[in-house]
Point group: C2
Chain length 177, copies 2
């Protein structure tokens, strides 16, 4: 049985965190490993209702995700966090707490995201209709030394997921085929 | 590997939930099973800071404990919840969500608890210095059909823990020696 791990996907809204999370989950589950995805929305619904998008509230929300990921990881679970998690400080707290922690920067430029804008959020952020929007009106502190960077503008989902899986295999978090 | 389970200890403040939780944990861990205790204080610190003791806030706190217990249980963990959890409705929600759920009523009369009063809380509750105190100024809805009732006034910790362990063994949640 491989040890527990948290794969922490950080990146801007629309960069592809959830898509990668679900593809990684599907692959791992086809190989018999139960995977828990904790995405920002699930956690806001179940653990953080009432919190807003100030730095303090975002940090509190991320600390709660980290606490739950920590518990699951030490019980051997394969956890994928898919949350913007814009602040480096609290991501580093999560790394310290969890230990078996693989930070993946899901990277995509604001220009590409604004052009894609599949949910129309960037247009609303640019006009100010949505406030505190990470990358537009709120900061995003990119990881300085993540375990991996995947670029959803330059590689397809299968390539990104494949690189994450190879990292996890190499570090004993999933069995090799 | 036995399946995951949540042992949910409900009862009044001072009834002995934490004592039983730690004894049960020690026994199970001596038999090689990692155990997670989620007690009311840990969860208020990590998931529910800012919530108070109204029915709504208590229910929200218990729903968060249930959410985390559910995730841990489905990943195979042995979870012990030690929380007053005074309201039957939200305990039943937890039962539904978690599935592998063993509700244990840690029973002790108000008279005995008021006489013991190891932390001096009942004295303060009786004078009104502490408000919303379960069993004095706030309701406690005892379980009507728990898997087990343990009486900390009539049996010692080893007896209570032994009965819980036999229930868990009989239901495949811990291996028999």
């Amino acid at each position: 049985m491989p040890k527990g791990v948290t794969v922490w996907l950080t990146g801007l809204s629309g960069a592809g965190k959830s898509t990668i999370a679900h593809a990684l989950q599907a692959n791992a589950e086809s190989r018999g490993r139960l995977v828990e995805i904790l995405d920002g929305d699930i956690v806001r619904e179940n653990l953080s209702r009432g919190l807003g998008f100030s730095k303090e509230d975002r940090d509190t929300n991320i600390r709660r995700i980290a606490f739950v990921s920590h518990l699951l990881t030490r019980h051997g679970a394969f956890v994928i966090v898919a949350a913007i998690s814009p602040y480096a400080g609290v991501r580093n707290e999560a790394r310290e707490m969890i230990g078996d922690f693989v930070e993946v920067h899901v990277d995509c430029s604001i220009d590409v995201l604004t052009a894609r804008d599949t949910k129309g959020l960037y247009a609303k952020a640019l006009t100010g209709e949505i406030k505190n929007f990470t990358g537009i009106s709120d900061p995003y502190e990119a990881p300085t030394s993540p375990e991996l960077v995947v670029s959803t503008a330059r590689e397809d989902v299968a390539q990104s997921v494949g690189r994450i899986e190879r990292y996890l295999e190499a570090n004993g978090y999933i069995n090799t085929d």
